[in-house]
Each structure stands twice: as C-alpha cells, then as structure tokens.
C-alpha cells in the first residue's frame, strides 16, 4: 500500500468536483477505483498534465482530458483563444488547481511542482503510473476525464 487512503482520495474528488462546479455551475459524475485492479479501460485522453510532488510526499498527480471537453470549458469561461497551446495551458491549470487545493488537507509539506502538460496517446497513463494508483473518473455532459493519484508519503514504499 502506498499510505494514501480513501479519505485522502476524497480530497481530490472534492477538488475536481469543486473545479467543475465553479466553472460550469454543474455537478460532475465521479467514480473512483484502483487503476489496474479494476481493469479500467483507458484513463488517458488527448491532453494530460502532471504535477510532481516533493517534501513529505513523492509521486505525481495527473489530469487527463479530451480536447473537446477543454474547448467547451474555455467557451464557458468566455475565452477567445482556444488553440492547442491554450488547451495545454488549461489542462495544466486544472492539474495545478486540483493539486494545490489538496494542500488544504495534506498541508504545506506537500510541495507541488509547476504542471507539465503534453499530448498523450491512449493508455499512456498505464505505462507511467504505479499499479496501486487511484483513478478518479470524471463525467461532465458527454465528456470524460480522469485524475490519477500516484502518490506516497515520503519514506513509504
């Protein structure tokens, strides 16, 4: 086990729900699972951003979403620019917000990096995260996205 429990995961569920509610004023559907144990088909969408942790935690927090969802979110925000760079910036900002909000629970000793955002192939996440990662599946309107929490408290294996 990685020292992260279901209560910890709820912090990320709350953070992602809160983000979508703030932007869209709508509730999202959420499901959580272990990434590999439940054979989740694919958690990787067109664009993925990750935050690397340091301090009292190690690992990464990922947010992955399709271009169509990010474009829709930008429309709601009133953004005129919706090119690929802006979509990458948006997926990074969402990863950053979810991770930053989690510090309310984990405290300042969970240090977070700037987001690294990239275009991703299907199943990319499964090749980079540990089997015991938690996945949070998000459904908003017809779109699906995912948050993968692959973190450990420092000193635990």
């Amino acid at each position: 086990m990685n020292g992260i429990n279901e209560r910890d995961i709820h912090i990320f569920v709350d953070a992602v729900s809160n983000f979508f509610f703030h932007v869209t004023e709508e509730k999202v559907e959420i499901k959580t699972a272990y990434l590999l144990e439940n054979d989740v088909p694919s958690a990787t969408y067109d664009l993925t951003s990750y935050i690397t942790l340091s301090g009292n935690f190690t690992g990464r927090i990922y947010f992955s979403a399709p271009r169509s969802m990010l474009t829709h979110l930008l429309l709601i925000m009133g953004e005129q620019v919706r090119d690929n760079d802006r979509l990458l910036d948006t997926v990074g900002e969402i990863a950053n917000t979810i991770s930053g909000n989690a510090r309310k629970h984990f405290g300042e000793t969970m240090e977070i990096s700037v987001p690294i955002s990239q275009e991703t192939e299907p199943d990319w996440l499964k090749t980079v995260v540990s089997p015991h990662s938690y996945i949070i599946l998000v459904k908003w309107k017809q779109y699906r996205a995912s948050v993968v929490v692959d973190i450990q408290r420092a000193g635990q294996t």
């Binding site: 925000m77 953004e79 620019v81 910036d89 950053n96 917000t97 979810i98 909000n101 977070i112 700037v114």
Partner: protein
C-alpha cells in the same frame, strides 16, 4: 491604478485581464503581464504598478519570493495573491511577505472583482 498580472498560466492572465472590462474596475489599468517572478520584477521596476495579481507556483522565481522583492522596492504596492495552494500556512507566508490579499483558485469573476474592489477602495 496600474495593474501588473503575474501568472505562468496564459488562461489565468487572460481571465484576469478580461475582468478589467467590468465597469466597477474602470480605475484599474492593465500595464503588463509576466509569466514568472523574474519577468515580473523587470516589469515592476520599469512601471512601478500600484496593484499586482501574483501566482505562487511559477518557474524561475515563485510568488512568495517575488512578493518579498516587490514590497522591498515599493512597500505601498497592493499585491493580491491568486493561488490554488489552499493550506493556511502558504496564505500566511504570503501575507507576512507583504501581500494584502489572498484569493483561492478556482475563483469566480465576482470573487476577483470583490478582491480588487477591497484593495483599491480608499
């Protein structure tokens, strides 16, 4: 009032700039945007803004160090930190370095307008 926006996210920079179109903020004039702390200090020295929105997690120089430097240069500057870092310690650290306000991400347009009005009211 002259505003400098400091954030590594183009989305946030654009959003803050767009909110300035609200008639309640007609006294606030955008003078520049920076995507990290170093760039922000250069613009700060050139233009001496009265108001700064400041992200915390940024490459090159973070928002805490940047706030400290700006307050050393211009102690009366109003710095509003806008960050997703939701732990109390970070907000306290920023306020201790001289920031005048702290707004958590995600925020609504009204949240930001209210924060600006609070900082700019006499």
């Amino acid at each position: 009032m002259k505003l400098l926006i400091v954030d590594d996210s183009a989305l946030i920079r654009s959003r803050v700039a767009r909110i300035l179109n609200d008639p309640r903020l007609k006294s606030v004039q955008l003078l520049g945007m920076a995507k990290n702390g170093k760039e922000a200090i250069m613009l700060f020295l050139q233009h001496m803004p009265d108001l700064v929105t400041m992200d915390i997690t940024m490459p090159e120089m973070d928002g805490i160090d940047c706030t400290e430097k700006m307050i050393e240069i211009h102690p009366d500057c109003n710095i509003l930190v806008i960050s997703a870092l939701s732990d109390k310690a970070t907000a306290l650290k920023a306020l201790k370095k001289g920031a005048r306000g702290f707004l958590y991400k995600p925020f609504s347009d009204e949240d930001l307008i209210a924060a600006f009005l609070e900082l700019t009211s006499p």
